[in-house]
């Protein structure tokens, strides 16, 4: 099926969504997505940041779609023409949506652990206003512990529903959902009941903002002072393929590996996430790729190509690279 997005044509298989097609073309045309998550079924459609204008429905029926559509939940049709960044109305509408997402957000980035890897920060940076037009009190919630390892900071939540989908699809016996309605809606485990499940930690990884954070990592370090490395171990529960976040020789945090769209490639188990915080537990593969929006260590090894990396390895410049076995 042929689809044209912002003037660029691409051939995609049937069933591809506009967002997926745009991502195949590249970051220059891909709409931002706060709630869609490739590995979570029925995710997407809530945040509305990925809206695009369909100016031609298909080759067979060229009528434009009357309203902007959520590109993450709209499948392409053969001959469809889509406008994203080239349509001023869409750009303007997206600014409005970003403003809506921010009016009740505390903007406490300076003390938020997510700062530096927060999708809302990126989104605000690209689409936000310099000043808020919202003059009223922002809504506030009490912080909640979801089990021993996860902190829920509802003030920061944008209700993307990703964590709810994780609870639905990855963990068994869902004890996690949304209560209340409208702008009083909140993520809850119903009377703070812990999510007692081997894969519950993934709610942290899917959270696009700082609403769900890893209590074993909270306030330990700003992410831009850490070095992400891909590593693996033999794990009986999950694939064991993870990302380690180093400060010096210490592993401060373990997360899933995320792709260039900031989505976990494979979900990892709580054992890998919380209980293996020693570099000797892991076989280290090498530095994790740094993506376009990342603030992490641009000066550390962002621009190293394979050849230079090999050189450095040989010079033992990156000492920890040598570690590939438990001593």
């Amino acid at each position: 099926m042929k689809v044209t997005i912002d003037g660029i044509e691409i051939d995609v298989p049937k069933g591809t969504t506009i967002l997926q097609a745009a991502r195949m073309i590249g970051a220059d045309v891909a709409p931002p997505a706060m709630c869609y998550y490739t590995n979570l079924k029925t995710s997407g459609g809530y945040c509305r940041t990925c809206i695009v204008k369909v100016t031609q429905g298909s080759a067979a029926n060229p009528t434009p779609m009357p309203k902007p559509v959520a590109s993450c939940r709209t499948e392409v049709m053969d001959g469809m023409v889509v406008e994203n960044f080239t349509n001023p109305e869409i750009v303007e509408a997206r600014k409005g949506i970003v403003e809506f997402l921010l009016i009740n957000h505390p903007l406490d980035c300076p003390v938020c652990d997510q700062a530096g890897e927060c999708k809302l920060q990126d989104l605000g940076y690209e689409n936000g206003l310099a000043e808020s037009r919202y003059e009223f009190e922002r809504r506030e919630y009490e912080m909640i512990d979801i089990g021993e390892k996860i902190k829920l900071h509802m003030n920061r939540c944008i209700l993307c529903y990703r964590c709810v989908k994780v609870a639905e699809q990855i963990t068994d016996g869902r004890v996690h959902g949304v209560i209340n309605r409208g702008d009083a809606a909140e993520i809850s485990t119903y009377i703070e009941q812990a999510i007692d499940n081997e894969f519950s930690g993934n709610v942290i990884d899917v959270c696009p903002v700082g609403a769900l954070t890893d209590k074993t990592f909270r306030f330990k370090q700003r992410v831009w002072f850490t070095k992400p490395m891909n590593a693996h171990r033999n794990c009986t529960s999950c694939s064991g393929k993870v990302r380690l976040w180093f400060k010096g020789d210490d592993v401060l945090r373990v997360t899933a590996r995320k792709d260039e769209w900031d989505e976990a490639e494979e979900f990892i188990c709580n054992g890998c996430r919380y209980d293996h915080k020693s570099k000797y537990d892991w076989v280290i593969e090498g530095p994790a790729p740094i993506h376009r929006q990342s603030v992490i260590s641009q000066n550390k090894y962002a621009n190293l190509d394979e050849k230079k990396l090999q050189e450095l390895k040989n010079q033992k410049a990156l000492g920890f690279m040598k570690i590939d076995k438990k001593p």
Binding site: Y46, R48, A93, G96, F100, I158, G182, D183, A184
Partner: protein, 445 residues
Amino acid sequence: MPRKLLIQNVDVPGISSLETYRAHGGYASVEKALKTMRPEDVVEEVKKSGLRGRGGAGFPTGLKWSFLAKPEGVPRYLVCNADESEPGTFKDRFLMEKTPHSLVEGMITSAYALGVHTSYIYIRGEFFYVARILENAIKEAYAAGLLGKNILGTDFSLDCHVHVGAGAYICGEETALLESLEGKRGNPRIKPPFPAVAGLYGCPTVVNNVETIAAVAPIVNMGGDEYAKIGIGKSTGTKLISASGHINKPGVYEIELGLPVEEFIYGEEYCGGMRNGKKLKAVVAGGSSVPILPADLILKTANGEPRLMSYESLGDGGFQTGTMLGSGGFIVMNEDTSIVKNLFTFTRFYHHESCGQCSPCREGTGWMEKILQKFINGTAQESDVDLLWDVQGKIEGKTICPFGEAAAWPVAAAIRHFKDEFLEIARNKKFVDISHYEKLNGGLS
């Protein structure tokens, strides 16, 4: 005398019982359809009738029915949307309360046409007593062999269940209704797929308004062509209008579509003119979500033609100078009414009822209410009018379901036609008295 097809017998004593209802010609359409017509013939009659959805959107019912997917071995469902919650609209409640059997009759005839064997009436939680009336009517219908197995000795079987919602406006949106009916949180689904393909429990489903389903019975009785002769142009048949506000005779009226608005407001047969001889200021013609129109534009279109009670005439001029027939919630306001105060009430309602699923509506409705609160408090500035305009524009058309529009349109229309009123409050810092709300609701939250 205008023709009445839906509520002609409401004043007959005991019409809510099956016996009296049948004595007045009730269930004739079931007899006719099941015994003399094929299901596709019934669909054809509905198509010919030009009947349009009475819930608000005005989508042609016959067309909607023809979209229903019919895969082998998969059940299909008919769901009646009785979650009537639009402020100003109370026509379905009236119909169900007075003549519950006319809805049950419509359900049976429609279900037969669609090949449905299980049907549901999803009724709003606040209408608990109406649900009792319906349940009683259904019980009577089962006992008389009009529901259940082999209806009237034919091989058509149908079950009908009443499901009481918990009182959420959003559950009147058809996919939120289906979610709620399935026992889930009443959040609208993302479309496509539409209910005609994957609705209740993932099966093909038709969701129709109470009045739409009730109208199927007279259509079958008199024939689609005959029905189409009533009304004007593409607005065929009769429509229930629930009139409220500063008029002499508020109530539910059945009108033939095409009736001039002026006659409806001032005619003795209908609203009977303005109460206490006050002047007409504005009308919300189809439930709180449709654009408000000032007196001159509701009585005449921008071209100077008389405005008629029809889908086309009320929509004439687009939203610049027109509005919509909507659900038929006709709210009349006299010269003493504050449009700003009225808008605050509406917006407060939409803020309260937003499901919170998608960002523009969740955040935007609350924001609009807070800005309007400033007008009520007398602390608003002139720039707040522009901000309000901008915020509503950023909600409209960006949401999952039409709730975003429902919340944005009243704001847009009030500013479009009554901007001076907003500016006057902003300039004079004039306090708008809302003491009566406090009496009603025990204070504002």
